[in-house]
Symmetry: C2
Subunit: 681 residues, 2 copies
C-alpha cells in the first residue's frame, strides 16, 4: 500500500484563478476553444447550424419550462407520454417539432459541458457578452427545474412517474453529473450561484431518492460521472452528504443481485442469472474486486476517476488498491501509444489484453480525456511520474488529435492507421472517418475537448500543504500560498517542441516551501536542471519528481532543458499488430507518417532503426516551433497494375527514401490521405 | 476475344459413370462423405441430432403435403397466413411445432444438396439401403408439389398468393436451382425420374411466370444458382426452354429500373433512386457491364458460373468477356492464397481490391466451392492453366479446410490466422470459430462440401470431341469415347503429396485421339514427363496443357513427376496485411503454422527466406503421404509479464528455431490453438 494513503494529505489542483497562461502552444489551443468551439457549440445547442442535425438541447429546456408552467397553472400534472427508450426521439422528416423532448436521452449534458468550458474561458478572458449569454442560458435551464428539484428534460417532457426507473440506459445521473461540473465551474468563475443552487437542489433530490436508508433506491449510474462530480460539489460546498452519495454509488456498484436486474427483470436471460454481466457498465462485480478495465471506455475512466477521488478523500485503501490495479491494466495492457483507449467500436469499449489494432481502433476522444481525469486524480493521491507521463501522452496526442488545427472540425474516433479507401469501402471500418467532421449527432467529444483545454492549468499544477507541484510545463504564472506567504512563479516553456523551461519567482517577498516538478520519463538528460547549484535549499528526487525545499525569492530562477530527442518506441510483444514496427516519438509528442509527405502505400515504407533521427522545423501547419522528424528508410516498389496476387517470393526491389513524420495530433490538416503511427521496421 | 468462343466446341465434364476412383487422398475424403456426412446430414434433415437445432427440412415437406391434401379434400385453398419475412420462422422455446413452416426460408435446399451428394455417392458405391432412403425422401418431397408444379414449402405453408413476390430475399429460385441440381444428379445416378419430373414441372411453372413475354415477371433470383442449374437441366433434357430461362435471368439482371425496386417500392430510399444498389446481389448493373466482383461471395460465383455456362452454350462473346474480367478481378485482387473468397463477414462479401485481412477473413467454405464451379466452367470454354491452377488451389485448401479429417465437424468461415482468445473475446472476430462446429443453423457448407467431394472426378476430367482433358490428378480409371472407339485410361497419382503420376491405357483396342493434361503452374520441372519420347504422336503445349495426339493402346504409359517443392509465396504489394510476410506452399497445398507444433505467439516467429525448406513425412494426422514443411526461423522472446506496454526500441532477443508447417486444410485437428498462414519474414 502506498504510504500516501495514510498521511491524509494529498495534492489538489489549484483554482484556475491562480494562473495566467502565456504559452505558444496552449494559448493557441485555448483561443481556438474560445473563439471557435464555444460560439459554434452555442449555435449548435440552439439548432442554428444549418449543416448539422438539430441538437434540441436548449429547446428541450424551454419546452420543459413551458409545459411545467402550464401544468402548474392548470393545477394538474402534465399527462404522461411513453418515454422514448432508450436513446432518444427525433421529429419525422418534414414534421414540425411539437412540445416534446427531442434528441438523445443525454442531450441536457450538452448545455452543461458548454457552460463548463465557458466558465474556464471566462476566468482566463473575461467577456461580458459571453457571460450574459451564459446567464440567459442558465435562466432557461433553471426555469425547467421541478419543484422537488428534479431537472432532466427527458423525463420532464415524457413521464415524471418514470424518473430513475432506467438507470442503466437513460443517463439521468450522467446529466446530473455534468450539470454539477458545469455549475461548480460557473460559480467559481463568476461567483454567481443560480446554477450552483439548482444543481444542489437536484443533488438534494437525488439524495432523497438514493442511499442506504430503507425505502431509498440502491441504484447507481449506468453511465458514470456523477461520482466525481459529487466530489467536486462536496469540495465546493463542504457538504459531506454529496461525498456520501458519491461513495454510495461506488460501493453499491456491481453488488449482487444486480440493481440493473432489479429495475428491469427482463434484462436477465434464462440461464444467465449467475453469469457476470454489465461489464459494459463496469457493474459486473464490486469495484474493489475489479482488476481489469472493461466495457465502455469513457464510462470506465469516469468511474475510476470517481473511485480515486473517494479513495483520496476517505483514505479508503481497498479502493485505492483497486485504482492502482485498474491503472496498470489500462496503461500496461490496453492503451494505445497515443494515450487513446478503447480498442473496439463495438460498445466503444476496451478489448482484451494487448488487443490494440491500429486501423480499427476506436480510441474515442472523450475516453482519452477521461484518462487525463483519472491520471490527475491518481497524481493527487501520490505524485508519481508514472501517472503524469500517461497524462501528458494522452493530452498531447489522443486528446488533441480530436480537434482540427483551426478548431472547426473534430474526430470522435482516433485511429492509429488510416487508409481512406478502407473507411469508405469496408463497413468494418465505417466508424473510422478519414477526415474530421463538423459536428456529431452524439456530440460528446467537441465540448469535452473544450472543457479540458480551457482548464488545462488545473492538470499542470497542484498543491499539497507547502508544496507546489508542476506536472506539465505550460508557460504563464502560478500563485501558491505557502505558510510563509504567497509566491508567484513564472514559467517559460518550449513544450512540447523543445524541452527548455525556465521557472522563476516574480514575487518580491521571500517565502519558504517546496517546489516539486516532474522530470519526464522520456528525458534522458542526466542533469536536466542546468543551474541547480544556484538553489541553496534541499534537493531530492522521488518517483520522477524533483523536490526543491528552501527559500524562494526574486533571485530564484531555474533553467531546465529536458532535451527531447526523437526516439523509436516499440510495443510490448503481446501486441501482435505492432510486432516488427516502431512508433516515432519526441518528448511528449507521438509522430506519424502522412500521405501528404510520404506518398501512398505507407505500408510499403520501412524505417531504418539504426540510422539517426533528425528533428527539423516544420512550418507548413503554422504551429510555432512544430517539428517534423526525418528518418532514413526504404520504400518497396509497388507491384505493377494487373500483377498476380501471389508470386514466388524473392526479395522485392527497394529504394532508399526519407521518411517524414509529423505530430500525430496534427494529422489530417492537409486533406484526406493515408496515415500510420506504427511504421514497419 | 478468345478464339474458343467462335468454334462452338467446348470441353465438357464427363459423366461420373465413366470413372472409378482409386486414390489415397480422394478415396478417404469420399468415404468420409459417404460414411459420415451423408448419414449425419440425413439425421439433421429429420431433426434427429439432439445437440443441433432442428432443421425442420423434411418436416416442412411432410406438413406441406398434408395441408395441401387437406385443403384439396376440403375443396378450398388453405387459408393464407402472413409469410415470415425474410429469414425464417422458429417455434418459441418449449412450444410444440404446429402445422407451419419452420427454419430458414431456404430450408428446402438442404434436402436438394443431400440428394445430390447421395447421387454421386451411389455412382461410386451402390448402396440399396441408402437408395431406398433417398426414394422415400423423394416421395415425401414430391408429395408436397402443388398442382401447378410449384414446390417451395415456405410459401406452400404460408401464403401461395405471395409466390414470387420477394425474389430479392426469399430464395425461391435458389431452392428451385438446388432442386434441379439434385434431381438431375439422382436421375443420372439411378435412372429414376420421379424427382427429375418434379423438378421439370416446377421449372415449367417458373417458365410460365418469368420471361420476356407480356404479362410475365421480369425478375431474377436474389440468390443465384438457378442460372447454372437450368443449364444442367437443359443439358440433361435437351429442352432449350430451360436454357432460355437461364439466359433470361442473366440478361435481366441489373437492368434499370431495378426489378427488386419494382417488386417492393419501399426498398428505394429517397434520394437514392439513381444510385447503384444491389451490388450485394450482383444486380447493381447489367452483368455484361460488371468488371469487379462484388457483394455476397457465394451468390457472386454462382452467378458467374451461370454466366460462363450461357456464354459457352450460346457463344455469347460479350458475356464471356465479362466472365474473363470478373475472373481477373476475383483471382488477381480478391482471393486468399487458400482460394478462399469473401474478405468480410459483413454480408459474407467481397471487400475492396487487395483488402484481404487474415484474422477477420470470412472465406466461406461455400464460396470456395463456388469458385471451383466457376473455374471448371471457364475451363470448359478455354482450357487454360490459369483456371485449373485456381480450381486446384481452392479445392485442396479453402474447400477442404471446411471439414475435419474425421468428417464430423465443419468450418463455415476459413480464416488464415487465428488466435482463439480473439475469437472469444473480440466481437469483431465472433464469426471466426477457433474449432470446427458439429452443424450449423444455416447449414449450407457441410452438404455443399459433400456434393463437391463426391463428384470431384467431374472437375478433374473433361472432354472435347476427340480430346480427353486431365485438369487434376486423381487416381482411378476414366473412360473416353473417341471417334475411333472407347479407351480407358488408368491414372496413378501421388497428389497432392508428391507429383508422381502414371497415366496408362488399359483398353485392348487401339484408338486415336488427343490426351491433354495440365502442367501445374507451380511445377518448375523443365521436363515433367519422364518418358515423353515413348509417345510416337504429336506433342504440343498450350496455355499450360500438354496435348498428346496420336494412337493410344495398351503400350501407352506416361510417367510424370511434377516434383512439387516447398516454396514461399508472397502476396501482391497491394495487400497491406501480408506485406513482409510469406506463405509456405508445396504443390497444390498451402501450409500453415499451428500452435501444436510451434508453441504460442505465432506472430513472434520469423522465417528465414534464404534457408532451404524441407518436406518431411508427417504421420500424426494419419493421412498417407502427408508432408510437414520444416523451415529455419527465429523466435523473438516474449516480454515478461507486467512489462511496460511501450519501451525504447532496441533489437529484441531472438533465438534460432525450427518452424513446422502443416497443410492448411488439415489445421485444427489437434484441438484448439493459434494458426497462421502468412508468417513474418
Amino acid at each position: 500500500m502506498e504510504k500516501a494513503m495514510n498521511s491524509g494529505k494529498f495534492s489538489t489542483p489549484l483554482d484556475l484563478k491562480n494562473f495566467t497562461v502565456s504559452d505558444d502552444f496552449w494559448t493557441k489551443e485555448m483561443e481556438l476553444v474560445r473563439k471557435e468551439v464555444i460560439p459554434y457549440q452555442w449555435n449548435a445547442l440552439n439548432d442554428r447550424i444549418p449543416e448539422a442535425a438539430p441538437s434540441f438541447c436548449m429547446r428541450n429546456f424551454k419546452v420543459a419550462s413551458k409545459v411545467t408552467k402550464e401544468a402548474k397553472a392548470a393545477g394538474r400534472m402534465r399527462p404522461a407520454s411513453e418515454p422514448v427508450f432508450p436513446w432518444g426521439h427525433f421529429p419525422a422528416a418534414g414534421e414540425e417539432p411539437k412540445d416534446e423532448f427531442y434528441g438523445f436521452v443525454f442531450q441536457d449534458s450538452d448545455f452543461a459541458k458548454w457552460i463548463e468550458a465557458v466558465s474556464y474561458s471566462l476566468v482566463r478572458c473575461p467577456d461580458p457578452e459571453l457571460e450574459k449569454t451564459a446567464d440567459e442560458a442558465i435562466d432557461i435551464v433553471v426555469s425547467a427545474q421541478q419543484e422537488n428539484g428534479y431537472l432532466d428534460t427527458y423525463y420532464i417532457l415524457s413521464d415524471m412517474s418514470k424518473v430513475f426507473t432506467n438507470l442503466k440506459d437513460n443517463h439521468e445521473l450522467y446529466c446530473l453529473g455534468h450539470l454539477i461540473e458545469g455549475a461548480v465551474a460557473y460559480f467559481k468563475a463568476t461567483g454567481k450561484d443560480k446554477l450552483m443552487k439548482a444543481a444542489m437542489r437536484y443533488a438534494d433530490y437525488v439524495i432523497s431518492c438514493f442511499g442506504p436508508e430503507e425505502g431509498k433506491k440502491k441504484g447507481y449510474p449506468g453511465h458514470e460521472i456523477a461520482e466525481m462530480a459529487l466530489v467536486r460539489l462536496y469540495e465546493a460546498t463542504g457538504d459531506d452528504r454529496y461525498l456520501a452519495l458519491s461513495r454510495f454509488f461506488i460501493d453499491e456498484r456491481g453488488k449482487r443481485p444486480y440493481y440493473f436486474d432489479e429495475e428491469d427483470k427482463s434484462r436477465v436471460k434464462k440461464g444467465e442469472e449467475d453469469r457476470e454481466r454489465y461489464a459494459y457498465n463496469q457493474a459486473h462485480k464490486p469495484v474493489r474486486e475489479q482488476d481489469e478495465v472493461t466495457g465502455h471506455a469513457v464510462r470506465a475512466v469516469y468511474l475510476y476517476s470517481g473511485m480515486a477521488d473517494i479513495a483520496r478523500l476517505t483514505g479508503d485503501e481497498s479502493l485505492y488498491r483497486a485504482c492502482l490495479k485498474l491503472w496498470d491494466s489500462l496503461t500496461k495492457r490496453k492503451m494505445y501509444v497515443t494515450g487513446g483507449i478503447g480498442a473496439t467500436h463495438l460498445g466503444e469499449a476496451f478489448s482484451f489484453d494487448y488487443d490494440l489494432p491500429n486501423d480499427t481502433a476506436y480510441s474515442e476522444t472523450c475516453a482519452a480525456i477521461g484518462l487525463v481525469f483519472f491520471a490527475r486524480r491518481m497524481l493527487e493521491i501520490s505524485p508519481d511520474r508514472k501517472f503524469s507521463d500517461v497524462m501528458e501522452r494522452a493530452l498531447y496526442n489522443g486528446v488533441l488529435s480530436g480537434m482540427a488545427l483551426d478548431g472547426k472540425s473534430f474526430f470522435y474516433v482516433n485511429p492509429l492507421e488510416v487508409n481512406p479507401k478502407a473507411c469508405k469501402l469496408d463497413e468494418r471500418k465505417a466508424h473510422v472517418k478519414p477526415v474530421r467532421q463538423k459536428w456529431f449527432g452524439c456530440a460528446c467529444c467537441p465540448p469535452n475537448i473544450a472543457r479540458l483545454v480551457s482548464s488545462v492549468p488545473a492538470y499542470a499544477f497542484s498543491e499539497k500543504d507547502d508544496t507546489l507541484f508542476i506536472h506539465l510545463y505550460i508557460g504563464g504564472t502560478v500563485k501558491k500560498k505557502f505558510a510563509s506567504g504567497e509566491c508567484e512563479f513564472k514559467i517559460e516553456s518550449g513544450f512540447p517542441w523543445n524541452g527548455k523551461v525556465k521557472i522563476s519567482c516574480v514575487s518580491k517577498a521571500k517565502v519558504s516551501g517546496t517546489l516539486a516538478f516532474r522530470i519526464p520519463g522520456w528525458c534522458t538528460e542526466a542533469e536536466p536542471v542546468k543551474n541547480l547549484s544556484s538553489f541553496k535549499g534541499d534537493v531530492k528526487t522521488e518517483k520522477g519528481y524533483m523536490y526543491l525545499t528552501g527559500e524562494f525569492s526574486e533571485e530564484f530562477s531555474l533553467d531546465m532543458d529536458f532535451a527531447p530527442k526523437p526516439r523509436l518506441l516499440r510495443a510490448n510483444t503481446g501486441v501482435s499488430e505492432d510486432f516488427g514496427r516502431v512508433a516515432v516519438n519526441m518528448g511528449p509528442i507521438v509522430y506519424c507518417l502522412e500521405e501528404a509527405d510520404n506518398g501512398r502505400n505507407l505500408h510499403l515504407l520501412k524505417i531504418n532503426p539504426n540510422a539517426p533521427l533528425q528533428a527539423v522545423s516544420f512550418d507548413e501547419l503554422n504551429i510555432k516551433g512544430m517539428n517534423m522528424i526525418i528518418a532514413e528508410g526504404e520504400r518497396t516498389g509497388a507491384d505493377p497494375e494487373d500483377a498476380d496476387l501471389y508470386t514466388e517470393y524473392e526479395k522485392l526491389h527497394t529504394e532508399k527514401t526519407v521518411l517524414k513524420f509529423v505530430p500525430y495530433y496534427a494529422w489530417n490538416n492537409r486533406g484526406e490521405g493515408e496515415m500510420r503511427v506504427f511504421v514497419n521496421l
